[in-house]
């Protein structure tokens, strides 16, 4: 996808390349990489770090039976399982993450022009991953995120102090950076939001809604 203006921070991509991002943050970066050739190229250089280190790591001997086990395993399987071959275009990463098509999402209404769709994480994973749908022209009050948070724009647009975010763009705001996003007046905005903390969204929501509800 061309015209992507906002990318993950270099340190975020580095952590992804090393396999160190939490599941929700990793999912949002993967959704971005699926569309962004630029970041994919950077990622490949970063993965060279991993392979260079792997190549030179002090080896730990593997037991003899692991070897024979491994070769007999693929002998056994060779007859039945066909090796995998490149298939034609598979589903997008986003499709895999949300487990279907965006059009089929059952949105839950939060009120005040906001809908969401939480996405289940693996049992051992912390954090929060969800789709958020924002009505056209909705102005959020200024807030910071107080922790790692990544937002990938799926549809529509929003604008804040740092620019305008369109589909494919990823917002990787630092920990305590405040912003005041306003959704597109016509299309609104759908985004995939990940946070490192489970309670993040619940904490943030009342503060976002407060000025709108007046309590």
């Amino acid at each position: 996808m061309k015209n992507i203006k906002h990318h993950p921070d270099t340190s975020t991509l580095m952590s992804y390349a090393a396999g160190g991002l939490t599941e929700p943050l990793g999912a949002v970066v993967a959704a971005h990489l699926d569309l962004c050739r630029h970041c994919m190229d950077e990622l490949h250089i970063m993965e060279l770090i991993g392979s260079t280190l792997l190549e030179r790591i002090d080896p730990t001997p593997v037991s003899e039976h692991a070897k024979t086990d491994c070769s007999s395993h693929h002998h056994r399987r060779a007859g039945t399982a066909h090796p995998e071959h490149p298939s034609s275009k598979q589903h997008s990463v986003l499709h895999k993450i949300i487990g279907g098509r965006l059009d089929d999402i059952q949105w839950k209404r939060l009120g005040y022009g906001l809908w969401h769709h939480p996405i289940a994480l693996s049992p051992n994973c912390k954090g929060d991953l969800r789709l958020l749908k924002v009505a056209p022209g909705l102005a959020m009050p200024a807030h910071s995120h107080g922790g790692a948070e990544l937002t990938q724009i799926i549809h529509g647009r929003y604008t804040d102090e740092f620019g305008s975010y369109s589909p494919g763009d990823l917002s990787d705001l630092g920990d305590d950076v405040e912003h005041r996003p306003v959704s597109d007046p016509i299309e609104g905005c759908i985004c995939l939001i990940a946070s490192d903390r489970r309670a993040r969204f619940k904490d943030l929501l009342p503060r976002l809604l407060q000025p709108l509800t007046g309590f």
């Binding site: 160190g20 991002l21 991993g50 790591i57």
Partner: protein, 200 residues
């Protein structure tokens, strides 16, 4: 399974890099095209002990580490046809498989295979004829840059890529602000990127 204790922060002991005597990519190609068991045995010989060591550094116990090494090589056997020499380095491809299996194991079967295995499909369109050579050259340069990095940058790279710590775990482990970890990562990457710029 990932424990912070394994991160000593010391420089890795460098094993001789004999990985390139027989280009791994050729072995992989023989596995892909001919289902060549001898080639697979050689790949196993070279990679399984390294992947086992990697998994132990990542915090796996030796039994799990060996299992994951086996699993990685079986995945290589199964998916060898998906690898193409024109797309990049065999070693990098195998690294991404090992890394992803380790993530899967920690998460207990993720519902999606989000991490791409080091390839972009469009890359096959215009394969440069000397791609495999430049790939090895790139790794050699990366190695040279890594060896020359200031100790504080080298340390965070190793803690992240080999010891499997997240950036906030590294900050905690070294008792430095998270922002410092991130800026060291950026500085380290900048040098690595510059070193391979002309080979892109």
């Amino acid at each position: 399974m990932v424990s912070a204790q394994s991160g000593t922060g010391s420089h890795p002991r460098h094993a001789p890099a004999k990985a390139n005597i027989i280009p791994m990519a050729h072995l992989l190609q023989r596995v892909a095209e001919d289902r060549d068991k001898q080639a697979f045995a050689e790949l196993f010989e070279n990679f399984a002990p390294r992947i086992k060591a990697y998994m132990i550094r990542q915090g796996a116990d030796p039994t799990t580490a060996e299992e994951l090494a086996q699993e990685t090589l079986l995945t290589v056997w199964r998916k060898a046809a998906l690898y193409s020499e024109t797309k990049g380095s065999a070693t990098t491809w195998i690294f991404t498989i090992a890394r992803n299996l380790r993530i899967d194991r920690l998460r207990r079967e993720v519902p999606w295979q989000a991490l791409p295995e080091g390839h972009h499909e469009e890359a096959a369109d215009d394969p440069a004829p000397d791609e495999a050579v430049s790939e090895r050259e790139r790794r050699e340069r990366v190695h040279a840059v890594l060896a020359e990095l200031p100790a504080d940058q080298h340390e965070v790279v190793i803690l992240s890529f080999i010891d499997g710590l997240s950036h906030s775990e590294i900050a905690e482990h070294l008792d430095i602000p998270l922002g410092t970890v991130k800026s060291r990562m950026r500085l380290a990457y900048q040098k690595i990127r510059e070193s391979v710029e002309d080979l892109r």
